[in-house]
Each structure stands twice: as C-alpha cells, then as structure tokens.
C-alpha cells in the first residue's frame, strides 16, 4: 500500500497495522541515518528512532498531505537528535564496532563502507548531515534546508564543502590501500 493511503488509514480509522507498515518502510533508512548522526552508537540510534516514530504517530494529524512523508519524518528525526545532543555529549563509537553492521556485505564492500564512515567522521556535523540527506537519501537541497531548518545557501555550502573534503579523503584512503596491496 502507498504511503498516502497508509497515513489516511491511520488518521481515519486509527489503524495501527497501517502505521506498522509505514514504520517497516522507513525503519532501515531512518535507523541508519540516526546511527550515522549519533556516531554509530546503534542502541542510542535505535532508541532515538523509536522516539521519532512515536512522535510521528502522535503528530500524524499535523502532517500536510502535499508534503513528502520522508521529509516530515526526517525533520522530526533531526529535531529529536538536536534535542538529544543539547542534553548529552554524544561519543562516537570506535571503528571496530562498525563491522557489526556490515555482516550482510562482502569484505570488499565492508572495507569501502568503513572508509566512507571514517571519512564522514572528518566532516563537521552540519556537513555530515547535509551530505547524508542530499547524497545518500536523495533529498533536494530545499528539502534538506527544510529538515535542518537552515537557509538554502548554507545547506548548499555544507554539501559542496563536505563533498570536496570527502572526495579528497576517499582518494587518500584508496591510494593508501593501493600502496599497501
């Protein structure tokens, strides 16, 4: 069933199964995004993801049908995460723990994924989030600006600078890997 139809069922009939389907459609992407934002602490990210979906359920009547559900959901997620880091100082997980999430990929892909995550850690938090939203999630710059509550130009700057830095870092890692081989 499509997202709009599921939302309608939740709002009109209080259908919790329809909301469960919405969760299933978005849980993987949202949990991965939160893992990236919190520094790959999977338990913390999943706790925040639960909070995000609970807020979404409670506020679903505020969702504007003409907007994209994913943008709306990510706005809640971003605000929830900001509120969390206002209260606590988030520690990034050691890189060794990242392999846990890679068990379904080949060794080569897992290595590339760890390189990317290592490179992403070198970026500032707004750059990392802007890059993630625009490049990984495919949101437009406008949607990302809406989610992050930042001016459009600022988001474009974060994406461009982050992209330059990330490309540079990835090239360095690849050169180092080729040198070791």
């Amino acid at each position: 069933m499509e997202t709009a139809a599921l939302i309608k069922r939740v709002l009109q009939f209080g259908d919790q199964h329809a909301f469960a389907q919405l969760v299933q459609q978005h849980q993987s992407a949202l949990r991965y995004s939160l893992r990236q934002w919190v520094g790959w602490d999977t338990s913390l990210a999943d706790d925040l993801a639960q909070e995000v979906f609970l807020k979404a359920y409670r506020k679903l009547h505020q969702f504007q049908a003409q907007a994209k559900f994913s943008t709306w959901l990510y706005r809640i997620a971003y605000t929830t995460w900001l509120n969390y880091i206002d209260k606590q100082r988030v520690q990034e997980a050691p890189l060794d723990e990242l392999t846990e999430a890679r068990c379904d990929k080949s060794i080569q892909q897992a290595g590339a994924a760890i390189d990317i995550e290592r490179a992403l850690r070198q970026l500032t938090v707004p750059q990392r989030v802007a890059i993630h939203l625009c490049l990984q999630r495919g949101f437009s710059h406008g949607d990302a600006a809406d989610i992050m509550n930042l001016p459009l130009g600022t988001v474009k700057t974060h994406v461009n600078r982050g992209r330059e830095q990330l490309t540079h870092l990835m090239r360095d890692y690849q050169e180092a890997a080729n040198g070791n081989a």
Binding site: Q27, Y32, Q109, I116, R163
Partner: protein, 113 residues
C-alpha cells in the same frame, strides 16, 4: 528528489547496509498500544466518573478523620473535635474512603490505557 549522480553518491549509497527490522516495529507498536494519542469519549466519561468517585471517597475519609475519637489521631489532626465514634467505626470509615479512592484511581488509570 534531487539526483546527484556521481561516483561519491554511488559509493555512499552502496556503503549503506539494509538494517533488518529485528523486532523494532513490534517493540514500537507495543509502546504505541500503551500510549494512545487520543482519549476517546468513552474513556473521558470513565475518567470523570472516576474523578467524582475519588473525590467522594476522599470526602468520606476526611469526614472520618475529622470525627476521630482516637486520642493520638485527634492530637495529630483535629484536636478539638470529638463525636464518640468507636475506633472500629472510625477505621472502617477511613478504610472504605481510601479503598474507594484507590480503586477508582486505579480504574481510571486502567481505562485510560
């Protein structure tokens, strides 16, 4: 959605694992089932009834306390009032009042879930 078709985007997207649900949705739905976002009219009526009976029960308890004849109780709460209730009657009134208050408070909580 914007399209950012370059090698970096491809690398980033390929690096992302699919995260298996692993009970995430079930756990969330259990939380949601325990915390409805709206109180239905039937639950509202039950809540007001519970509040009214709780107030009534508390009034009975307060009446019992204010007419206490147990010297210690009188000393602590209402030193000058004395009506001649026996300790057993007093305790029965207190117990009835507070049990009623507790029962209806609990019922209200159960109904609101």
């Amino acid at each position: 959605m914007a399209t950012h078709n370059d090698s970096l985007t491809t690398q980033l997207q390929q690096a992302e694992p699919h995260i298996a649900d692993g009970g995430f949705t079930d756990q969330l739905m259990q939380q949601i089932a325990g915390q409805p976002h709206v109180i239905r009219p039937k639950q509202q009526r039950a809540m007001w009834l519970a509040v009214a009976i709780t107030l009534l029960g508390s009034s009975v308890a307060a009446f019992g306390l204010s007419h206490a004849s147990v010297p210690d109780l009188q000393l602590l709460l209402v030193p000058s009032w004395r009506t001649g209730f026996t300790p057993a009657e007093l305790m029965a009134m207190l117990a009835a009042g507070w049990c009623s208050a507790l029962f209806m408070g609990g019922l209200a909580l159960v109904k609101l879930r």
